[in-house]
Amino acid sequence: MTAIKVEHLHKTFRIPHQKRTTIFETLTGVFKPPTYETFHALRDINFTVEEGEALGIIGENGSGKSTLLKIIANILRPSLGSVTALKKLTPFLELGVGFQPDLTASENIKIYATIMGMQKREINDKLDDILEFAGLKNFRDTKLKNFSSGMQVRLAFSTAIQTNPEILLMDEVLAVGDMEFQQKCLDVLNEYRKKGITIIFVSHDLGAVRRFCDKVLLLNKGRQVAIGDPTEVIDRYVYSKVETSPSNNNEPESNENKLQDGKDGLTCRQISGKIAEIVDVSFYDKFDHANTNFNSLDPMKVRIFYNSKELVEDPVFGIALYSERGKHLFGTNTYLKNYPINSILGSGYIDLLIEKIPLQTGKFLMTVDLVQSKDYVPLDHKDKQYSFSVIPTGYEEGILGLSCSWLLNSERAI
């Protein structure tokens, strides 16, 4: 059974150049027609969510995710088209809606729970559980303003999860709070999923979306780009981001680096008439598109473009990988890999093939070197000028992503 149906949904916002917020301004401005710009936040969105399904909505900032969620929640109204929800909606757009600092914890729970649609008797029954779960049993009659922000979030969260939603709308609630809290949120979501509750979930955490959703909707600048299988749609999102800037997008920074490097005399020589140089470096994803975003553990190809004015015998290409903070993670070159190159002349490229990117998450910088091996003459050195990002696909921790598996070996196997 269909739980939510969205048909030909459009949303435009009018942004007046000069906002009239008083009757006085409206009267005095009666002969000056107001000028405004129209902003198309959503264009022609169509999808359905079946009962018990979890839909993830992904997209860049400003792609209309939250607007869409607010329209489904009936907070904003569509400009065109329609949204039909066949069940009761419970939006978790923010935790602690309607909290009053001057009221006590138990009073706030009552109000918040009522706002979230709980019945009076239910609230009275669960009041102790809620306080217990939030670990605030001794603060029942303390005014909310005396709570730390962490206590407030805990209170709001433990109240919110007591509701019995039929359709749950979640907007980045997971983004707040520490690791433990996020894990709690996920546990609750899993619980809800098991109960067969329909969930619509907006997140930047692609790992969470991939694990959690049956279906993913990808928005780009208010348009519906794709909807369907999570892996496909997320791949499309990660690998189809149009490259707005070349891979060496931190130009000013790298110039600075260059200057600094100039001091140590290594790069001085190359400035005076480079015999051969590295022109550019590109990263290619598994679909063979140039890209700077990669899923963790996906294949990657690093393509180094060079240009050599003279014949260079026995050249050695090398790369070094750094974390964003500059920690040296890895380095290799053609010599170490036993890949001798006789000579290079003119322009061309060399590929470095990485079967699985052994990284989890973050931005990574790459240094590329070209030297002549005979007497180790540096020909070109691009220090940390190229970068790419890795997006996590799971919940493992740390920078490194090792592909591994567990195997229990016990005498008493269960």
């Binding site: 008083t22 009757i23 907070i75 001057d102 706002i115 019945q119």
Partner: protein
Amino acid sequence: MIVKHIKEMYDYRNLIWQLAWSEFKLRYKNSILGYFWSLLEPMLMLIVLYVIFSNLMRVQVEHYQLFLLLGIILWGFLSRATTIGMFSIVGRASIVKKIYFPRDIFVVSSCITALLMSIFESLIFIIFMVFFRVPISINLVYVPFILFFLFIISFGLSLALSALNVFYRDVQFIWQVLLQVGYFATPILYTLDVFPKNLQGFILLNPIARIIISARDTIIYSSPAKIEDLLFMFLSSIVFLLVGYIIFSRLEPRFAEEI
């Protein structure tokens, strides 16, 4: 549609009550002393007005203290309900932007808050009634109707004001001035006879004037309410409610964007 909406509001009765009650508690800072201070204000007002009007201006009205107090309480309800009501949407922007339920719930609950405050003040009035041994009569049966009409008119006004206040923030100042004017254009401190004969018909166009007069007649002077007054109140409460709802429902879809 109207029936459906009333049913919806009934489903939300819990929320309406929670919002009204928490607002009421907040107004009195959740303390016993807070309640006391809130009684003190109308008492002081009463004493000042009583001294001025009965001694200096020499108003000759039977039970003038009660006459005055009832007028102040009833007008006070209108003024309070519309003022709290006017801010009921703007003051709850964080809720309006994050969750949906019928937005007139905010307005109803703020009118109920005002009602709670006025009932609380009426305690003084009842004490006065007993103290001055004012006889009561069967004509008290009219009182619930009169108060109901007052509530509906205040609610209609609050609906319109709360919606307009989202779009035009100077509504609040304009309304305060209008309330001030109304205070003196309504027979609160004096009887209707104070006004010139040709103006009295004009004054009676104000349903609040009729409400106050009828309430005094039935509660203090043991006389029945005039049928034409009741009819006028009934019709004007329908008009106020309708106009209020029309303005409110026209503007309501854009609340979350404009607030």
